[in-house]
């Protein structure tokens, strides 16, 4: 049985797709056969972030509608062994996802894969609800910013009431907090919520903190998941998060202000 992980947030633009690509790639790098599914029907982007946009022939909705088989629609990643992508349809809308259809695809994938990473669309409508419905684990992606934290809390409420596990009275979805676009300098200046603040408000265990980094944009420009950039702090922070997801202990990195030189401190900036 595969473990189904949903990467969700409520709010858009917080880094769900970046995180799905990074975490899915990280799991595969650790030797776990992983598939990442793009649930953002109509606004597909995971293919672009993964750098395989020109290899999409069939998509998730084609498989649900039995217009293509799963093996025809799955794209094998060229860089990372054991990693596959199931792209979203670009021409349909989110009503094309049915509970029965999604369940059938997930059941078939479960036979072959160890991890299924579901990249949720923004919002709390059908697409987002489908992405989280069958999840065993949720990674709640949150920026240290008021609207993102509030929306994350809203999504936690949906995970706890409208998921399959909630409806069937099964053990609840395992919830993890992933704080992204974190800027320790601004936190120390009192201009940004700290990790501790966000943890306290949302009250779920912390999986990782991804520092705001130029490497993330660079990686998406190139279509390479940022976790493959071992030099970048963001890449290393995602690797730590994947290790923690697999049950390993990793100390938090990149959350403290880096020491500045004497003159820089004197003059500010």
């Amino acid at each position: 049985m595969a473990k189904i992980i949903v990467v969700t947030s409520g709010k858009g633009g917080v880094g769900k797709t970046t995180s799905s690509a990074a975490i899915g790639t990280g799991l595969a790098l650790k030797g776990h056969k992983t598939v990442i599914i793009d649930f953002d029907v109509g606004l597909r982007n995971l293919d672009l972030i993964m750098g395989c946009e020109r290899r999409v022939v069939y998509d998730f909705v084609n498989v649900i509608n039995k217009e293509a088989t799963l093996s025809q629609a799955l794209i094998k990643d060229k860089r990372t062994k054991d990693l596959f992508l199931l792209p979203a349809s670009q021409t349909r809308d989110k009503d094309a996802l049915t509970t029965e259809g999604v369940e059938a695809v997930l059941n078939e994938l479960s036979k072959d894969f160890e991890y299924i990473v579901c990249d949720s669309p923004a919002g709390i409508e059908k697409g987002a609800q489908m992405a989280l419905y069958f999840a065993d684990v949720a990674i709640v992606t949150t920026n240290p910013e008021v609207s993102s934290v509030r929306d994350s809390d809203r999504i936690l409420g949906i995970l706890q009431s409208k998921s399959r596990r909630a409806e069937q009275g099964l053990p609840p979805i395992e919830e993890h907090l992933l704080v992204t676009r974190y800027n320790p300098d601004r936190v120390s200046e009192g201009e940004m919520l700290s990790v501790a603040d966000v943890e306290e408000i949302l009250a779920i265990p912390l999986l990782g903190v991804i520092p705001e980094s130029e490497a993330v944009l660079k990686a998406s420009n190139q279509g390479t998941p940022v976790i493959l950039d071992g030099q970048a702090e963001a890449g290393q922070a995602y690797s730590d998060a994947v290790d923690r997801l697999l049950g390993e202990e990793r100390p938090l990195r990149f959350t403290d202000v880096q020491k500045k030189g004497f003159f820089k401190r004197l003059l500010g900036g």
Binding site: E145, R150, G157, S161, E189, G190, L193, S194, D197, R265
Partner: protein
């Protein structure tokens, strides 16, 4: 923080702590609404309508809370009546 910042007033709370306070309030409010039964909202409206037949009160002066303890639920109705002007 540069040398010039030391001259600034220290009494003003940081914007991050304002954000945290605001979030804690709104999140607690939304969570309590999330756990309450669906009928509560409509019941609240109807109770307010009944009270208004006799006394003129604003919505914000009628508070209804349902609290669950281990073996019973308590419905608490709190109405702040307007001050007497006569």
């Amino acid at each position: 923080m540069g040398i010039f910042d030391y001259f600034k007033s220290k009494s003003e709370p940081s914007s991050a702590s304002v954000a945290k306070d605001r979030l804690q309030i709104i999140v607690a409010h939304e969570r309590s609404r999330r756990t309450q039964p669906d009928y509560l909202e409509q019941m609240q409206q109807e109770i307010i309508a009944v009270i208004r037949k006799y006394v003129q009160v604003d919505n914000e002066h009628v508070q209804i809370q349902l609290e669950d303890t281990d073996d019973c639920s308590v419905l608490e109705l709190n109405v702040t009546l307007p001050e007497k002007n006569d």
